[in-house]
């Protein structure tokens, strides 16, 4: 059984109202498609025993083992081994851009992705946390694996309001300080910031031994600059407007963009960060599959 591609088409999703509906749509379509997926079982880790030490909570003593061996062993539960997934969503104003060829803005696309990821993680009994940021962290939801956490995450995602501008370095630094438990950090952003600050920000996560996955959300228009005539471009984040002959400037723009992407990729590579380009005109399953492949590669080196 194969999933209908329409499940993952942003254009189809754009017609759906409500993030819950969109996320469920995506994930159900995806899970149905993952019928024989090899990634299915990275859920419950093994338990381990360790000798009791004074001060340990007696609740966790394994009485069966004590009965057989007369020694105190503590039963360590899977709690420690659960996947912690932090989804960081960039809500700066630049994310609200929607190109002429796209059905969803970058933010909308990122919201959908975040919701779908959260749903996926929760389904696997893992914990998911959410943070939105622009120039600083805005909403931070602590990770939880309970099914009741899902509406909370969803609600937070729906409540997102675009912030004025992005400062990835500052935001990441602040967030890294708050994400104390080691986990997987999924960054959903267009990364439109100074590459040096971006690099510094990402390094903060790596310092705390987070696995970082960059989901670089870009509109196809930003990648291809498909404009032919004169346009007056107004900056979403308060930059001065510029009237340009799009056709004339296209080459130079594409060169700049290329340079930027190359810079981001090399930063990611240098810091052992998975980098994924999420184009808003591409179906979500492509992006999800790429994400999961990256995740698998990380789990099973």
């Amino acid at each position: 059984m194969t999933a209908s591609p329409t499940f993952f088409d942003p254009r189809t999703l754009a017609r759906l109202n409500g993030l819950a509906l969109r996320a469920r749509h995506i994930v159900e379509g995806y899970v149905a498609g993952l019928h024989r997926s090899p990634y299915r079982g990275f859920s419950i880790e093994f338990a381990e025993h360790r000798e009791y030490a004074p001060g340990d909570d007696l609740r966790y003593v394994d009485w069966k083992v004590f009965g057989r061996t007369d020694k105190f062993y503590l039963k360590q539960y899977e709690d420690e081994t659960n996947l912690l997934c932090y989804v960081l969503l960039d809500t700066s104003r630049s994310m609200s851009y929607r190109g002429p060829g796209s059905a969803l803005s970058k933010l909308e696309y990122a919201q959908c992705l975040a919701a779908a990821l959260a749903w996926l993680v929760l389904r696997q009994q893992d914990s998911v946390g959410l943070a939105t940021f622009d120039e600083a962290p805005r909403t931070v939801i602590r990770p939880s694996g309970s099914p009741a956490h899902w509406p909370v995450v969803l609600n937070a995602l729906e409540q997102v309001a675009p912030g004025p501008r992005s400062d990835l370095g500052a935001a990441f630094a602040a967030l890294a300080a708050r994400l104390v438990r080691r986990g997987v950090v999924v960054v959903l952003s267009d990364l439109f910031d100074d590459p040096a600050r971006l690099s510094a920000g990402l390094r903060q996560f790596r310092f705390r031994h987070h696995d970082v996955i960059l989901l670089h959300v870009l509109d196809s228009a930003e990648l291809l600059f498909p404009f032919d005539d004169g346009k007056r471009f107004t900056g979403l984040e308060g930059e001065p407007a510029a009237s340009v002959d799009a056709r004339a400037i296209r080459g130079a723009y594409l060169a700049e963009m290329e340079k930027f992407l190359a810079g981001v990729k090399s930063t990611a590579r240098a810091q052992g960060i998975d980098y994924l380009l999420a184009r808003t005109d591409r179906p979500f399953d492509e992006t999800l599959a790429a994400y999961l492949a990256a995740r698998l590669a990380r789990v099973k080196p």
Partner: protein, 886 residues
Amino acid sequence: MMPFASATLLLWGLAAAIPIAIHLWSRRRHEEHAWAAMAFLMAALRQHARRARFQEWLLLTLRIAVLVLFAIALADPRTAGRANSAFPLAGGEPTHHVLVIDASYSMDLRHGERTGLDRAREAALAIVRNAPQGDGFSLVLLADPASVVLGEPVFDTAAVEQELNALRTAPAGADLTSTLARVRELLAQARQRVPRLARRHVVVFSDMARNTWDPGNQATGDWRRSWQELAEAAVLEVRDVGPRTTSDLVNLAIVALRSAAVVEGPVARHDLQAGGEGRLEAVLRNFGSRATSATVEFQVDGRPLAAPAITVPPRGEAVATARVRFDSPGDHVAKATLRAVRPPDELPLDDHRWLVIPVRDRGEVLCVEGGLDEARFLALALAPGTRGATAARDAQSIRVGIASETALLDRSLHRYDLIALCNVARLSDRETQAIGDYVYRGGRLAIFPGDRTDIANFNERLGGRPRRLLPASLGPPRSQDDLRIDPRGYRDPLIAPFRGQERAGLLSTPIWCYLPATVIDANAARVALAFHNGDPWLVHEPFGPGHVWLCTTTAAPRSRIAGSDPPRPWNAWATWPSFVPLMQTLLHEALAGRSAVRNILVGGPLTGAFAQEANDSSRESGTTASDSVGDNARGNTGDNASGNAIASGESVLVELPSPASAMASAFAEPAETQRIAAERVGFELRWLLPATSIPGIYVARPSHLDSDSKSKANASDTLSTMSPRGDSLSSERDTQATMGVEQRFAVNIDTRESDPQRIDADDLPASLRESFLASNPDASGLSGPTGAAATPGVFRGVEMAGTGSAGTESAGAESASTGSANAESADDGTVGAKEPFAEAGRDDRATRAVADSEQRRWFRPLLAMIAMTLVAESLLAWRMGRRGGA
């Protein structure tokens, strides 16, 4: 500055504001687009901005330029500046230059070191060499008739130069009218065949001789109309290559050479009888303004005769004479040459003249009588010695044959010097035809009607078209008793000998009946004698080279007045003392002019006929018993008998003189021999050389005789190569000439062209004067004594024709450029003389013609510039677009 024909159209230039507006508006029109990746955009902008802005402005400029140029093209700009400001010529369209070079022989007139033709050639070569690549050339000779050397435009300048270098003058005048017409045809043809030659430029190089340029020239007609027509098709220009002044030129010319009989009383010894004595007269004219002396060398048949020295006053005439006597019959060639001309003559061509004098051993007269004895008295009067044998020489000198009408058809009439129709009743079509052929080929006819004459028949046959032979139409006989004679002042040469000789009986001639006649063409006909009531008695009229005398009464006393009882004769003239002298003068007149057909001017046709009657008379039995001429053994009868009969379909060989013979002796080696198809008509072998182009002696003979005599003379000679002649005739040729089987012709130049007098600028039409003065700034010397001796300029268009001061400027420029020390050219008087001309003679048509040419000159470069700008614009736009898409 550049004036415009339609300045209002320049307003289209405002359209240039359109791209500016578009440019500005398109800036404003830029669609707002919220954009996230501004940083990259700004970076790209910074990188791109400088070049983009430059290219954008360049594009804008080009677009504006297209529109501005288009507006200029619409507005039709005119160049008022100098033509040799390089652009219009260098960047203009290809031009068809028609070089019209005056080839009349006055162009040979030497002034300074060079002749007019040399100057014309130089100026033409300058045009050819300075013309831009792609210009075509035609070369036409202004001559008579016009001669096209290079018709279709030639692009190979080397070929044109070669033709120019090979140019020679023609020994004739020039027919400006027909030449201009030919040029016009030529232009029209070239326009069709080589349409890319968009401009047409006609340059006439001429010495501006009055004989050529006089609009009142009778021969060539008014050329001004042709000029106007041509001006509509091309830019016309006249280059004066003539002398600045004619005052110091020396040209002495023999304008006529003629033989005059020595008149002894009323009976003449005319020049064409062997043994007769005559006089050669050479008429000299001095065309210069200084008295000139020369020796006139007369030659007859190559033998020097006399060489009188003579001085001719300035612009005057003098006659040099030499006595001459011809002992043998035949075509004798006389030549007069000017020798030792002081001061030296500058035009040698007109220092020679030839005269062919056909000398007979006797004159031949045919009297055609309508009834018995009608011609008897006339025959007696014409050859008084025939029956009486009083004067042996006279008996030989004139032979009169009497025949009936049938004789008109049974023999060649060509050999008769005079044919008289005596009381002939009717003429048939064929007879009329034969007489017409005879007269119109130079024959002389005397008509004596009588009581038998069918007046209606005569009026119809002889008085009608196409070939009229009757000077006056005849009415029914009128009898009147007291007819008195009006000698009309003895002005007519026929009557002139009677002047002061009242007792000769002319005025008392008893005439009672005559045919009242009405002169048909009062301009041509000449009434020699009339009756007191005004009715003509003796009327003369030339028809072509021939002459007809009409006597309105009979030459024999046999005609009777109708209804008279007892019968009375029309007159008693034949027995009256005036009859014989009158008939003798008539005979003299008839004989004297016969050499006219042998002496023609260059350009005229040569025509002749060889008798072949013996051949035919043997077959036809039409000879009447009364014909005393039929048995005339004239040598060719013998020839015919010996097998040299002229067969029909034969051809005639004509030896042409070589062009160099004009300068050499009379009997230079013939340049070439032409074979001409001859036509057999009746008893004659007729031939025609349609045009002559070289002065000199032409010799014609039937081709079979030529081969025969040649084989006798020199077996190795071929038909077409004539052996060189010595200065004296070989005896054989003498015989041939005597036998009438060889005819000679003298072709002389028309010396009107010898006059170096130049046309006044005032006599030129205004349009021409304008362009002429413009292109020949020093041409004002034409009308005044100011002699600017500057050489004709290098190539210069006629654009300056529009500006009054152009002439002055270019004169200065020219004298500066030539650098020659022409003291006179810088003369204030010259400049002063020019101004009024230039100011006065504005002609719209000339300027319009010039302007048209300029429009053509500007329009295409403008279009080309527009096209180039458009191409550049689209290339740039494409490149900019491509750069964006890359």
